[in-house]
Amino acid sequence: MFKKVLIANRGEIAVRVIRTLREMGIGSVAVYSEADRSSLHVRLADESVCIGPAMARESYLSIPAIISAAKVTGADAVHPGYGFLSENAEFSAACRDNGITFIGPSPESIQMLGHKAEARKMAVKAGVPVTPGTKDCVKKDFKKEAEKVGFPLMIKAAAGGGGKGIRIVREASQLEKEMTMASSEAKAAFGNGDVYFERYIELPRHIEVQFARDSHGNVIAFPERDCSIQRRHQKLVEETPSPAVSKKLRESLEKAAVQLAEAADYVGVGTVEFLLTQNGEFYFMEVNTRLQVEHPVTEYITGFDLVKEQLLAASGEKLTHTGSHSVPYRGHSIEHRINAEDFSRNFAPSVGRVEEWMVPGGNGIRVDTHVYAGYNLPVYYDSMLAKLVIWAPTRAEAVERSRRALAEFKVRGVKTTIDAHQLIIQDADFKAGKTDTGFMERLLAPAEPVKA
């Protein structure tokens, strides 16, 4: 096992990783930008080092600065968290070239699974169902390809992710215009203008399966997470298990994830995202080659520590569970992403000093955060303040517990999405488990101001 691990990230995920490292008796190194000098991960780590100015490009995204920080502090491994360099094959390779273990998949795996069209091919090879669409990136004959896929369709950037670089085309007449825009957008955002087509599925559920695989070939697929509550492709609420997934469907989903992990010879933890249609068919969407924001819900119902599994896999050891692909779970878990956004002003980002910060507690409540009273929220990074994670024996009880916890959560100084979450859990469709990716749009529709 590693002696000292550098966390190439900030915010709640850096704090979360440090906690597992401490429990395992592994030293921790925090890196921070000038804007994060007073952030909680810097205070909690055994050592900390300033790697650059506030702009992420020159600090958290600077491969030479982070490699240098690992060398200077003598860290033998780097945990990338999520976002930033976590799915960057070049970074994974740079770690390897410098004799530092990257806690995540190999550069080859990241490259293969991170490129969406390549990942699709891999899914087909592994026998995992994919949405009808083009096999490769589309070229000049894109009109013919589009007819084959059928409308409505999505234009997706091959190098995209996190909901970015997607355009929906409802009819053939709009195709040419949207195609030009999608390609130039992709080029500007990801430095790669390649796009491909996929059939657009109306009101699907977003279902994903967390898996872990070690270098000895042990694979675990965890019960599915339902992340259908999204706003502009950004997840707000995640839960596990999904109210829409039966035991039989769960087995099929887990089997698909295992097949994919094995086909890609993947080592580490990862997540396969699927679209689940209203009729209960599922299609492969993409693979995230990192720990995900919503991993705590899985930890809550299964009792696993996914960061620990990452560390075991990366150091060449065996996962804590071997011998079968699935694991037992108990109860229901819901995660609420609490962001510094003003719900009443169309989720506009809110910045400033957190004057009051009182987090909920009690049975079945976990709060992952880097925020404390007096914390100055930097403007440079994402707006997530905390993840409120709930566990209860049943979904109905979990929803009631969410209601109680959200009411206890007091924040002053910045606006948060707590109000939005309260609205979500009071909704009759949510309570009944009837959610899909159009849920937020419908929920917010009556609240939109009428144009004069």
């Binding site: 000038e34 994060d36 007073s38 790697i51 650059g52 030479p64 490699i67 920080a69 200077v72 100055n376």
Partner: protein, 125 residues
């Protein structure tokens, strides 16, 4: 005040609630101010100008194969290279911010440095 004392003093200050400290000895005066507010970038306020590390890495007084004869008390010119910080395969130049006297060298050759760490103090002239 020598470098070691200065480093010790800064480290010690970080462990206390002190935000600012002034030290006087005859004509020399040093004020240290901790940068607790991330919005303000100046790490230290003093009559001397600090020369901060442009990056994290390993400090070298000279590029490979070169030598550098800097001493405390040497006069330096604006833009003069005082050393380099090695980060990956790159060497980032550390340059004098103005014409003046090099009053303090607060770094040793081959030592790791953080981004924004004071390496030299120059008294402008």
């Amino acid at each position: 005040m020598d470098v070691k004392t200065l480093t010790k003093l800064t480290k010690w200050m970080e462990t206390t609630d002190l935000e600012e400290i002034t030290w006087r000895n005859g004509e020399d005066k040093i004020s240290l101010k901790l940068n607790n507010n991330p919005e303000q970038s100046a790490a230290i306020a003093s009559s001397m100008e600090p020369v901060l590390s442009p990056t994290i890495g390993i400090f070298r007084f000279a590029r490979p194969g070169k030598t550098n004869h800097l001493k405390e008390g040497s006069s330096v010119k604006n833009g003069q290279e005082l050393g380099v910080v090695e980060v990956g395969k790159d060497f980032k130049a550390v340059t004098a911010p103005s014409n003046g006297l090099l009053k303090i060298i607060s770094i040793e050759d081959g030592k790791p440095v953080e981004y924004g760490q004071p390496l030299f103090f120059v008294e402008p002239r």
